[in-house]
């Protein structure tokens, strides 16, 4: 549906040229909710602006249903743009126009007849749940309501693609959730393809079907959310998908040597998340096991459980216990950087904890069992 090929964008800055996008390749399928995540400056907003042709790419192609947007000009470009809706972080509503006129805007410029505009706007306000606000002005709305209007406007001209550029970044967590639910519902009901630009992992987890991780203008990892989340290949991806462990009690306890040195992370996906492996391991193996931290969440509709456990016992028994986990589809590995004896890797380096580096290393899987 949308195919981005070898896209590059270079900005001229006082400090010389800055590559905002380097050779970006992405394929977005019809009906996908494709998330782009990255830190500020990773190039995700440049990508969104290139796709909506608010900026011209320097090289590469953006094919929307086979038509290269980078080559369009004038009326053809405007026509193509009417096939894309855009949702902005700061809403960008017409402040001196009513809610009705805001939603009607894309229809008016596309020259729809008044009757159809009225019907379409009423329908859209119903979809976003703001029918009672039709005659009011945006200033009277809350941030979440404004973004609902932004979404209704983006949907107005029945586009095939919606681009959400940090659409929830200015909203509080509750409002963010309701907006994400709305987007998901719209995607399910209409099959519209959605591109989501965000720096929030939660947005990817709750909303997206696919994700691309961006860094330094490049896509360093992409795929289905569940795959990238559970098997991150790069450090940046890991950092996005791992919680900030430095704030957790177990992490501090490990740092202060109040608990032992054999800390593991176990990841349960899908059906595995429901079984009682911990119970089985304690019963079958001669080890002590305590749970330091645990969570279970839904990622693109799949349950993913994550446990941080401490296991104490003979290396051989530990290795067997880990093998047991793996046989049952649980991914487990030792957490690096905590003088953890890793039973599967005798050459694993043991470093003392340095508070300056632990935030960078803890939570990463490096040196542990490589995923692939």
């Amino acid at each position: 549906m949308l195919e981005i090929k070898n896209l590059s964008k270079i900005y001229a800055t006082p400090n010389g040229p800055l590559a905002a996008l380097r050779d970006v390749n992405v394929q977005v399928g019809k009906g996908d909710i494709f998330g782009f995540i990255g830190l500020s400056g990773a190039g995700k907003t440049s990508l969104a602006r290139c796709v909506s042709v608010l900026e011209r790419a320097d090289a590469g192609a953006i094919l929307l249903n086979g038509v290269d947007l980078t080559r369009l000009k004038g009326a053809n470009l405007r026509q193509a743009r009417r096939n894309m809706g855009m949702v902005f972080q700061h809403f960008n509503l017409l402040m001196n126009a009513t809610i009705f006129e805001n939603v009607a805007f894309p229809l008016r410029i596309a020259g729809w007849p008044q009757k159809e505009i009225t019907a379409r706007v009423e329908h859209l306000l119903e979809v976003v749940g703001l029918t009672d606000k039709v005659k009011t002005y945006p200033a009277t709305l809350s941030g979440g309501q404004k973004q609902r209007i932004g979404i209704a406007r983006a949907l107005a001209a029945e586009p095939q693609l919606i681009i959400c550029d940090e659409a929830t970044s200015a909203l509080d967590p509750d409002t963010t959730r309701s907006i994400l639910t709305l987007l998901k519902k719209i995607n399910a009901d209409t099959g519209v393809t959605i591109i989501v630009i965000t720096h929030e992992m939660d947005v990817i987890k709750t909303l997206c079907s696919h994700v691309a991780v961006m860094e330094g203008g490049e896509i360093i990892e992409q795929g289905k959310v569940i795959d990238v989340l559970t098997h991150p290949q790069t450090e940046t991806a890991r950092r996005f998908f791992a919680k900030d462990h430095s704030e957790e009690g177990w992490f501090k306890a490990v740092q202060e040597n109040k608990i032992g040195h054999q800390v593991f992370r176990a990841v349960f996906i899908g059906a595995a998340a429901r079984r009682s492996f911990i119970h089985d391991v304690i019963r079958n193996f001669d080890i002590e096991l305590s749970i330091l931290s645990g969570s279970i969440e839904s990622v693109s509709g799949t349950m993913v459980g994550s446990l941080i456990i401490e296991m104490t016992g003979d290396d051989a028994v530990l290795a067997k216990a880990m093998a047991f986990f793996r046989e049952n589809g649980v991914e487990i590995e030792a957490i690096e950087g905590m003088e953890t004896a890793n039973p599967t890797d005798a050459t694993y380096p043991t470093e003392s904890i340095d508070s300056a580096t632990c935030k960078d290393t803890v939570g990463s899987y490096e040196g542990g069992v490589p995923h692939a």
């Binding site: 608010l54 960008n92 402040m95 001196n96 406007r153």
Partner: protein
């Protein structure tokens, strides 16, 4: 006795109550004699201006309202033309700026320079410079209609800059939203830029109109008519401080009313 002659140097047909007295006798006796029936103004001890009180008041009640109407007439038409031309020039400045809807940076700089030149000429000088133009357009270089020409010309550069500033208040985001929705530049100007900037534009119009009132007073002093003319003719040339004060009071009231109306409209239009 002093000799009394009609106040002929200034048109006595238009101000019937005025007489100029050339003083050559006993000042005190004369002043005593006149004080009951006449308003007097003395200049340097040799001349005395006399006005018959009754005629003076009748004259004032006719002159001041007419001068006020003349001022409104000049300011009204000059404002109308200044707004029309100002919107065109201001919008041109706005859309041709770097990154604008019709970016033409070179042309923008040239237009900006011309506007700066227009703004740097003092208004009094501009009126004199534009006498030939006024004569060409209106047929005369004096009077209320002739004043509209220099007032308009003086207001256009100012109005353009005010409009440019009002339009630049609009955030880039809202323009981009319109561009991304597939709007043509014309649609962006008519459906986004103008409605969104309407309150700022009205505030700018108000500012310009009030500026034109002060400018019109200046024009009045060099043959332009209106309240400025009255202030100059009576208040300055004949030392009638009271008339000067009346014209000031009328001007203050005009400015207050226009400012209040402007603010009210701007507030009505502003839904932010």
């Amino acid at each position: 006795m002093p000799s009394i002659q009609p106040f002929s140097l200034l048109s006595s047909s238009t101000d019937p109550g005025f007489f100029r007295l050339l003083f050559s006798g006993e000042w005190d006796a004369l002043a005593r004699h006149l004080s009951g029936n006449y308003l007097t103004t003395v200049r340097d001890g040799t001349e005395i201006y006399l006005m018959n009180m009754e005629a003076y008041l009748t004259h004032l009640t006719r002159t001041l309202p007419q001068a006020t109407i003349d001022t409104l007439y000049m300011v009204g038409f000059a404002s109308l033309f200044a707004v029309l031309f100002g919107i065109v020039v201001g919008m041109t400045l706005y859309v041709t700026q770097r990154g604008g809807i019709y970016a033409l940076p070179g042309f923008n700089r040239l237009l900006g320079a011309v506007i700066n030149i227009g703004r740097s000429i003092p208004f009094v000088v501009l009126i004199l410079l534009l006498f030939p133009l006024s004569r060409l357009i209106v047929g005369t270089s004096i009077g209320r209609t002739a004043s509209i020409v220099p007032l308009t010309i003086a207001a256009i550069p100012f109005m353009s800059r005010v409009i440019e500033a009002a339009l630049n208040e609009l955030g880039r985001g809202i323009i981009e939203a319109a561009v991304a929705a597939g709007a043509t530049p014309r649609q962006i100007i008519w459906r986004v830029v103008l409605p969104e900037c309407a309150p700022g534009l009205v505030a700018g119009f108000t500012l310009t109109i009030i500026n034109l009132i002060t400018f019109s007073a200046m024009a009045g002093m060099i043959g332009g008519g209106g309240l400025g003319h009255i202030a100059h003719m009576y208040g300055v040339s004949r030392f009638r401080t009271d008339i000067l004060v009346y014209t000031i009071i009328i001007l203050v009231i005009l400015v207050q009313i226009i400012q209040a109306i402007g603010q009210m409209i701007a507030r009505r239009l502003d839904k932010r």
